[in-house]
């Protein structure tokens, strides 16, 4: 849907109907559509999560450092950067 929507044709939906009800197909389609639209918009606003992976409230500068430009995983890398950003690398806690 987000990259090659032309591939989502009658055959694709027929295959989906084997696994999902009409209600679920509409639910999935609307959910994905919303996400296709919103993530690009959010990306242009250049904002980052308010909380680190371990639940600390962080400012936008620190959050940017933790999550990076294109975070791929909430845990791998981001969690380590969150620990490293604490005084003493979080060893005092």
């Amino acid at each position: 849907m987000g990259t090659t929507p032309e591939k989502i044709d009658q055959a694709f939906y027929d295959e989906m109907k084997k696994h999902y009800s009409t209600e679920e197909i509409v639910e999935l389609g609307a959910f994905i559509g919303f996400n296709v639209g919103y993530h690009t918009f959010f990306g242009t606003l250049d904002f980052y999560p308010m909380f680190s992976p371990d639940g600390r409230l962080v400012d936008q500068e620190e959050s940017r450092r933790i999550y990076g430009d294109t975070p791929k995983s909430h845990l791998h890398g981001a969690a380590e950067r969150a620990r490293e950003s604490r005084p003493n690398g979080g060893k005092d806690e």
Binding site: T22, I25, V26, E27, D46
Partner: protein, 178 residues
């Protein structure tokens, strides 16, 4: 025949749905086909219609300008269903087919659009074609013409309408009138 069959009439007759169908009918966008498809998922038809309607028909930014942006996004998404529909409210406000086409072609040099309108049209044009150009500098320029609330109004309109138009494009819908 759309890929998803219309929801049963008894679902469409539910007061919450009927009330929104009336609002949509008055605006002209979307037509009842939208509800017939979305009402398969309880609650979705209401929530999705509200999400589309609020930034499009309400808010501070000129509705006709947002209508041009909506139609441009529908074309980009390959959603002929949404692209073919027109807001009666925008038409009453003086929006013509000629102005829609002008807003979706060489608007940058067109004197009928103000600098503020050109920025909004550029916003709609760039968001899903060249989102990297929608950066801090771009938003700083937008803030000369619009409040932050108005920028969120336009951005929300662009995001919600485009996202759902991509979904609708896969369902191969035709407007009710066709």
């Amino acid at each position: 025949m759309p890929i998803i069959d219309p929801a049963p009439k008894e679902i469409l007759d539910q007061p919450k749905i009927k009330q929104r169908i009336e609002k949509a009918r008055a605006l002209g966008v979307p037509d009842e086909m939208f509800f017939e498809i979305m009402a398969h998922a309880p609650g979705y038809a209401e929530a999705l219609f509200d999400a589309l309607y609020e930034p499009h028909a309400k808010g501070n930014v000129d509705h006709g300008l947002k209508e041009i942006i909506r139609i441009g996004l529908a074309r980009l998404a390959g959603d002929g269903y949404s692209a073919a529909q027109r807001s009666a409210l925008a038409r009453q406000g003086g929006l013509t087919e000629e102005k829609i086409e002008a807003g979706l072609s060489d608007f940058e040099t067109d004197p009928q659009f103000t600098d503020a309108e050109k920025w909004a049209l550029r916003y709609g044009y760039l968001m899903y074609r060249e989102p990297k150009k929608v950066n801090k500098e771009f938003y700083d320029q937008g803030k000369k013409y619009y409040s932050e609330a108005e920028i969120m109004e336009i951005g929300g309109l662009i995001a919600i309408h485009y996202g759902l138009q991509v979904f609708l494009s896969t369902l191969k819908l035709a407007p009710k009138g066709n």
